[in-house]
Amino acid sequence: MADTILLLAGVLIFLAIVFAVTRLILGRTIVDRVAAVDLLTVISISMIALYAHIADRFIYLDVALVYGVLSFLAVVATARYLERGL
């Protein structure tokens, strides 16, 4: 029962990644692309946490933490660059 629900959740996350990558490819403006990257980061954080539960390993949560810190830096740096050149 619980495993089936988790599988369904995995499929939904899968589709969310497909949508965000489609927006990244279609683009139109640079801001759309960076926003898609931001969304993909948050989705990846929860995907890593979900996989940490499936594999039952605590250490994987550290990866999610590092991921959150550094990709946030990249998005803010890109936004500042767009605004006035770093």
Partner: protein, 80 residues
């Protein structure tokens, strides 16, 4: 399910890398190049290498995007 996710992530890596090559705007290319390494980091976690994933996430997405932005700014200043 795991194999499916790994295949999806590898496809996304290829898509964003191809996008980085094909885009006209240099800045958008830098962003999507950073995204390719972000996906690679998730791939490493799924394949059971958290230490490699941590390094890849910190250097690939954080540091190399910053250095690329710096380089873009320097080269556009030189051109003008």
């Amino acid at each position: 399910m795991l194999e499916m996710l790994v295949v999806l992530l590898c496809g996304s890596i290829i898509a964003s890398a191809a996008l980085a090559v094909r885009l006209d705007s240099v800045l958008a290319a830098a962003v999507s190049g950073g995204l390719a390494t972000l996906f690679a980091a998730v791939c490493y976690v799924l394949l059971g290498a958290p230490d490699v994933a941590m390094t890849e996430a910190s250097i690939g997405s954080g540091l190399s995007t910053l250095i690329l932005l710096y380089a873009i700014r320097r080269t556009t200043e030189a051109k003008e």
